[in-house]
């Protein structure tokens, strides 16, 4: 098992105040890492540090390094757009781009220079199937992505990330606001996808982490309190805070 990310003494500041404190963590390839923690604990910031989306914000500062396959992604030489092609992301409230379902899916591949119609058609079908949404949209690919239901939009956004064939998929609460059936569909998709991708799943739903994650990390107030095999975190956590959080005894 190889390591996808090595995170060393990583600190993240918004306007001078620390949001991630001295983070040390290794993320293994072809696994699902679940990230849990109360609101404001830095989960989203952590995810957005991995594809440098945080840089869109003003007044940010980072310290330490995040190595991806041994290369520091915060190196000034790194091509950020290229990094984001390798590290795909599904946002907490994903919004399709204002174009058709088909165009949404081929947006990433087109950026990478794929232009053959048959190749794109193939990618669309494959990605939509992998995101468990193909059957619902197969005969209306020209419909605007914005017309889909919330759950379908979420899966479309997963499909458009899959279409660019990233190495890593970051998911920020992909099931918040979804019904149990859509949630189950996404979870099914993830367990299949981890064979090909490294997945980091932020979730507010501890049960979801318990169901799908291989390892789970617990964040609290910008610090990673504990990380370990999911079963161990949920049955015998080493830290009292983790125990309090997963048993729901947390303020």
């Amino acid at each position: 098992m190889s390591t996808k990310f090595n995170i060393h003494n990583f600190n993240f500041y918004f306007n001078g105040s620390p949001v991630l404190k001295d983070l040390n963590l290794d993320v293994t390839s072809n696994e699902i890492l679940g990230v849990i923690g109360p609101a404001g604990s830095g989960k989203t910031t952590f995810l957005r540090s991995l594809n440098r989306m945080n840089e869109l914000e003003a007044g940010i500062r980072t310290e330490g390094e995040i190595l991806m396959d041994g290369q520091n992604i915060y190196d000034p030489e790194v091509d950020v757009a290229g990094l984001r092609k390798r590290v795909g992301m599904v946002f907490a409230m994903p919004v399709p781009l204002p174009m058709s379902i088909y165009e949404n899916v081929v947006y990433g591949p087109r950026l990478s220079g794929i232009s053959s119609k048959s190749r794109l058609d193939e990618l669309v079908e494959k990605s939509l199937k992998e995101a468990f949404i193909w059957d619902e949209v197969r005969d209306r690919l020209k419909l605007s992505g914005l017309r889909l239901s919330g759950g379908q939009q979420q899966r479309l956004c997963l499909a458009r990330v899959l279409a660019m064939k990233p190495e890593v998929i970051l998911l920020d609460e992909p099931c918040s606001g979804l019904d149990p059936i859509s949630t189950a569909k996404i979870e099914d998709a993830l367990t299949v996808l981890k064979k090909e991708y490294t997945i980091i799943l932020v979730t507010n739903n501890t049960k979801q982490a318990a169901r799908v994650a291989d390892k789970t990390a617990f964040f609290l107030m910008g610090e990673m309190i504990e990380v370990g095999l999911t079963r161990q975190i949920f049955t015998a956590p080493a830290k009292k805070e983790t125990h309090d959080y997963i048993t729901g005894r947390f303020g």
Partner: protein, 285 residues
């Protein structure tokens, strides 16, 4: 102590509103009433399409002025629109927020500069420059186009920025997260999503250019002719009215009102197109 009750306030505001509206309506009716009978008497075709403007001889063909107005407006669009849209994109997508917060109101302030001042700069700087580098009289179609192009900048920039900023942040983030560069995101997502607003800003600018009078009189040279090159001196519809109204009588005076009707119709068409485009922008969200 209550001076006027709720009903009183309502009544006063209503009177004010109605008097403003009726003033506009009266002006419109007045222009149409003075101009329309002339058009019928003289013949619409002769009036619009004849090139012979000679009030003393009873000849009232405004084709040269229509051509001049169209060319000057087109020229203003060529010079002003790309520049304005580029500035809007730079300020909203590349410049740091604090910079935009200072620059945008400053640009909007430019719209408040009286047009004589623009005309003055045109006469003192632009016309001599054109004369010595390109030839011709200097006061020309080209000078008019450039000055009008500058004058429409505040409209184009300000409304374009507003519509670019109205594009949801999630579109931009979605595109960037899929590995698009800033520029790819701008031209594939942001500009597409704000297209109707940008088009509206240009059309509103053009409405302003068609109606502009003072600056054009000062820099365009004002000779009645169909321009053969950008360096020719031209007279626009607005300039024609303003230059001759003070001494015109009888048929001549009516012909000028009729010119006003033509302008009026043109500008109404432009503004309707713009408001349809703007409505499209707001209803899409």
């Amino acid at each position: 102590m209550k001076l006027v009750g709720e009903k009183g306030v309502r009544r006063i505001l209503m009177t004010v509103a109605f008097s403003a509206i009726s003033a506009l309506l009266l002006i419109t009716l007045f222009i149409i009433n003075e101009g329309l009978p002339f058009i019928f008497r003289y013949g619409l075709k002769d009036f619009l399409l004849s090139s012979d403007w000679n009030p003393a001889a009873g000849k009232f063909g405004i084709f040269p002025m229509i051509t001049a107005s169209l060319w000057v407006t087109f020229g203003a669009m060529i010079t002003g629109a790309p520049l304005g849209v580029a500035v809007a994109i730079f300020l909203s997508e590349y410049a740091p927020r604090p910079m935009m917060k200072v620059v945008k109101p400053t640009i909007e302030l430019l719209a408040a500069i009286p047009s004589v001042v623009y005309g003055f700069i045109g006469v003192m700087v632009l016309a001599p420059f054109i004369r010595s580098y390109f030839g011709g009289p200097g006061l020309s179609l080209l000078a008019g186009s450039i000055i009008l192009g500058i004058m429409i900048l505040p409209t184009v920039i300000s409304i374009s920025i507003d519509s670019i900023m109205a594009v949801p942040r999630s579109y931009r983030e979605g595109s960037l997260a899929l590995g698009a560069t800033t520029w790819q995101t701008i031209h594939m997502i942001t500009i597409k999503a704000s297209k109707s607003g940008i088009i509206a800003s240009i059309i509103l600018g053009l409405g302003r250019a068609v109606g502009e009078t003072m600056a054009v009189i000062m820099v365009a040279g004002n000779s009645v002719n169909i321009p053969h090159s950008a360096l020719d001196s031209v007279r626009t519809l607005t300039a024609n009215i303003a230059l001759e109204m003070s001494y015109a009588t009888g048929m001549h005076r009516q012909a000028l009102f009729a010119t006003g009707v033509v302008l009026f119709v043109g500008i109404i068409i432009l503004n309707s197109i713009a408001s349809v485009a703007l409505r499209k922008r707001t209803s899409k969200r």
